[in-house]
């Protein structure tokens, strides 16, 4: 292939794929009139779902970032069968279909589940509650952050940590003051992916947490529920969700850039 036709092939592929990826998102916006959008914004399902989605995805992101950073740091600093095993296990939810995750969560934490039956005897019932939404989101989104964090931590120069230690910093302090700032761009990027996955979570939530306005009905579930009666309302909700997700992504991108510059 000549270099000219090779670059033409690349350009062609780019045009086809980019327009394919862009078209559905554009269609959401372009086929909706302003009055439909206003009606959608006033839809009774929107506000409770938006509030719930933001609250639960923030909760699950916090869990994932705090616990995930510690796990990722341990995995990144250890070479051996055990750390490879831990790494594989943390990646498992990424390859499990969300619906399967939902069934698994129900069988683990449901009233008659492996752990759930024990919890239920002590008066704690997780399934079909807001905490169930957080658990479902944490389960599906953790791999995205952990993988990015492991990669970022592995790039931290061992010598810098040694220097910090010889200057008297404790392992915890050198993690906090050296490793975290150095890995910040990767961590923020991973957190953004993880958060986006949480916000979009649908299958596991529907099966494990159910569908109740204000308590377990997140934005994707609200879109699905609205779709059953009124496509326009579903579309308006979907568009609002895209806007929210995009705005959050921009904020996180900016944070990652600033972290990189610092």
């Amino acid at each position: 292939m000549t270099s000219r036709s090779w670059s033409a092939v690349q350009q062609g592929a780019t045009i086809i794929l980019v327009s394919f990826l862009l078209l559905p998102v554009a269609a959401l916006a372009l086929t909706l009139s302003w009055s439909d959008l206003v009606a959608g914004a006033r839809h009774p399902l929107l506000l409770p779902a938006l509030r719930l989605s933001l609250a639960t995805s923030t909760c699950s992101l916090t869990l994932v970032v705090v616990l995930g950073s510690l796990v990722a740091w341990w995995v990144a600093r250890h070479r051996g069968r055990l750390s490879r095993l831990v790494e594989s296990v943390t990646q498992l939810p990424a390859v499990i279909p969300p619906a399967v995750a939902g069934v698994g969560l129900l069988l683990a934490f449901g009233r008659r589940g492996l752990l759930g039956s024990f919890l239920a005897r002590h008066g704690l019932s997780l399934a079909f509650s807001t905490p169930a939404v957080v658990l479902a989101e944490t389960f599906v989104s953790a791999p995205f952050f952990i993988q990015a964090a492991i990669a970022a931590f592995r790039r931290v120069d061992e010598n810098l940590l040694t220097v910090a230690r010889t200057l008297g910093a404790s392992p915890f302090r050198s993690f906090l003051r050296v490793a975290l700032p150095l890995s910040a761009p990767g961590l923020v990027g991973g957190a953004a992916m993880s958060w986006a996955r949480s916000l979009g979570e649908f299958g596991a939530t529907l099966l494990f947490a159910g569908n109740l306005t204000g308590r377990t009905q997140t934005l994707p579930l609200a879109v699905y529920t609205a779709m059953e009666s009124d496509l326009r309302a579903a579309q308006a909700l979907a568009l609002i969700m895209v806007v929210v997700a995009f705005a959050m992504l921009l904020v996180l991108r900016r944070m990652a850039r600033e972290a990189g510059d610092a």
Binding site: L106, G110, R111, R112, S125, A127, F128, S129, A209, G210, N211, L212, T213, R215, T216, Y224, T225, M227, E228, S229, L231
Partner: protein, 239 residues
């Protein structure tokens, strides 16, 4: 190699049916396939509201069997379905997990449940549930409906998902059709709703305009309406 080719060669009759029809219709399809050599029935079971939305958005199907008149009427009005006929009746009941942990013995006891699961308002069973709760409120007092609604843990998108929550023991009570309760006898107990507070669910069936096998579709509907079809539906608890 031969098997996939045979499947492709067979005439596919696509039937969209309400979730509550799953067991009965699968049995009917077996019968239909033995009576019509070369025809294969493929099903899409979902909440009737979802089937309607799919048809409105161009899903190609030959037959629709809905669990309420409302969604069928909307499709007839849009000229997507033709000449619906009522082929079965069903009755909402309360189901509780085997052992009845919340000790519910009548509709009036429903507020004793910690967790109740119902259908979403657009799902036929959810719409029927709302009507039942309204009727019950006018008898048991206006607080009844509010007390029940305070205990609703989920509004599911089809009746079999409602039933599944009781089967799993996740819900202490749910409102489903009598036929669903019969399909899960080993896992649930059934409590009837007083007839004067209950509703009768009527199931219409119709040929769809967008289908590619109208004659076969009519034959399928004829089987559903035939004495043999009715007897089979009766065995599954339909009336």
């Amino acid at each position: 190699m031969a098997l996939p080719c045979a499947i492709l060669a067979a005439t596919q009759l696509t039937v969209f049916a309400a979730s509550s029809l799953r067991d009965a219709f699968q049995e009917l399809a077996q019968r239909f396939e033995t009576e019509h050599a070369g025809a294969a029935v493929s099903f899409n079971f979902a909440g009737s509201q979802e089937l309607r939305t799919q048809i409105e958005h161009g899903a190609r199907a030959d037959v629709l069997a809905s669990a309420d008149e409302r969604h069928m009427r909307a499709l007839v009005d849009a000229d997507l379905a033709v000449a619906p006929r009522t082929f079965a009746r069903n009755e909402p009941v309360i189901v509780v997990p085997a052992g009845n942990p919340a000790a519910i013995h009548a509709l009036l006891d429903l507020p004793r449940a910690q967790r109740i699961v119902v259908g979403a308002p657009d799902v036929p069973i959810g719409a029927y549930t709302l009507r039942i709760l309204e009727a019950a409120s006018s008898r048991y007092g206006p607080g009844f409906r509010a007390e029940v609604e305070a205990r609703i843990a989920s509004r599911e998108l089809n009746v079999r998902q409602v039933l599944a929550k009781v089967r799993l023991g996740e819900a202490d009570a749910a409102i489903v059709y009598r036929t669903d309760a019969l399909a899960a006898l080993e896992a649930v107990e059934t409590i009837s709703i007083p007839a004067d507070l209950n509703v009768v669910a009527e199931y219409p069936i119709a040929v769809l305009r967008g289908g590619s096998h109208p004659q076969l579709a009519r034959a399928f509907i004829d089987l559903v309406l035939s004495p043999a079809g009715r007897a089979l539906l009766g065995r599954h608890g339909f009336r």
